[in-house]
Symmetry: C2
Subunit: 279 residues, 2 copies
């Protein structure tokens, strides 16, 4: 088997390390010559190039570019693919990507390996990054079964826990547990920043501890990632945000009306439900 | 010096361990005989009793009960205090507590050592819990200087970093960085719980990872603590919640209107501001 990886960052690089480690022939494509050289040196790929011609005769191509570049990347590589080459991606939103890519290339199935580190780029690539991490595949009705199976096999081989669902179900789920938290959390930091009383602001800065640190972490994180979620999962994120605002309004109302029993029920239900979302 | 500690839980017990370790005579009061016995055995106190008479001739009394019991506890111990006995508390809200307690006992100054662990109760008491933790003192205009100095000395002796401010400034600051995050975070869990599509809900439960875990932690935590914040810091919390809702609405509007540049500015500002709140 020959696998092509386009975009040699943390995800692409880590996939390369694992697949090459299995004895699979891996070729890489990057926009930058320097990244290609590092990838070869680091053992991420057998060979890498800024030239798409390197993808000739690949059985599977994994597009690991940022979400906004996935469909255009697929378009540009089509001249180099065999008719039965399977293409997948690793983007963290799926509906729009899958819609565009499936119409360009029927042997496409969307993928989302949910692994990462605080670091990025080829230098951060590591073995076993996907071990025990969720790896979502999002076929549509027209996706050939053997295409799904081929990508599933690769995902399993790097240790991923496979989930198969529609692109829409994926996008709603990640809106809830990944994209909504970013906006909620950014709003918290904004509220703290906007405090007008210097004394309160300075004391808040000094007193903030683990509760603030944890609740604000994803909102104070990667800007491009937050922007990508909003742009490419806009509708599902907005839906989650509207629902969230209703829940927040209910909490505010209970506090305003001193409905302590109701507030207690909300807090108890939250305490009880949270472990279901922790693996 | 003789110090009395009322309420031998995590905070009271840990204060006892540190103070007794300095050679100070420490007596404890608990509602339960069993807790008194454990406190004596554990070396938290020299002696402990369910009888308030044990507080006779104490120089300082530290009330470590839940917030709602602080003022009534002070009222009940007054018959046992010398006129110059200094009283302080460790409650995490201050304006209402200080108002009530200062009118009952002029030699009172509010305190808030901001330390804790996930465990509670006398069994969780530990040495050096307050080492490098913020310890806020909240005197009012009528608080005698020597009362502040006496409690400050104790707080410094257990390793606390002293902040002195009015009860109101304290309550506004903790509303922002401690109480607001709890409600924001509870709202997130509620939004996830309320997802009606079983497929989305199940996938969300399986895909939730560190982003959800961190953002939901304080909202899925101690119910009594959350309720206490809402009850006893109600006005400041409501003020923070209203401001937060405005910020959230702004984020929603930017996403609705596809104002990506503005959203990017919000996320960049959040990323930039967050480290100021992390010590």
């Amino acid at each position: 088997m020959k696998v092509g990886i386009i975009g040699l960052g943390l995800i692409g690089g880590s996939l390369g390390l694992d697949l090459k480690g299995q004895g699979i022939e891996v070729v890489g494509v990057s926009l930058r010559e320097n990244t290609c050289n590092i990838a070869i040196k680091k053992g991420v790929v057998n060979d890498a190039s800024i030239d798409l011609g390197i993808l000739k005769n690949t059985d599977v191509v994994i597009i690991c570019t940022p979400v906004e570049a996935i469909a255009s990347t697929l378009k540009s590589i089509i001249p180099y693919l065999n008719p039965d080459t399977v293409v997948t991606d690793v983007g963290s939103v799926k509906a729009s990507v899958v819609k565009n890519c499936s119409s360009l290339w029927p042997n496409f199935v969307g993928g989302h390996p949910m692994a990462g580190t605080a670091q990025q780029g080829i230098e951060a690539a590591q073995r076993n990054l996907f071990e025990n991490a969720a790896y979502v595949l999002t076929p549509i009705e027209s996706t050939p079964l053997e295409v799904i199976q081929k990508v599933e096999k690769i995902a399993l081989s790097v240790g991923g826990k496979i989930y198969i669902c529609s692109p829409e179900i994926h996008d709603r789920a990640v809106a809830l547990i990944s994209h909504l938290p970013v906006m909620i959390s950014a709003g918290l930091i904004k509220s703290c920043m906007m405090e007008k009383d210097e004394k309160v602001l300075n004391l808040a800065k000094n007193l903030a501890s683990s509760g603030f640190r944890d609740t604000s972490r994803v909102g104070g994180g990667n800007v491009e990632l937050g922007l990508m979620m909003a742009k490419y999962n806009r509708q599902e994120l907005l839906f989650s945000l509207q629902q969230y605002r209703q829940n927040l309004d209910e909490i505010i109302t209970q506090i305003e009306d001193k409905n302590w029993h109701e507030l207690e029920q909300i807090l108890k239900a939250s305490q009880k439900a949270r472990p279901d979302f922790l693996n």
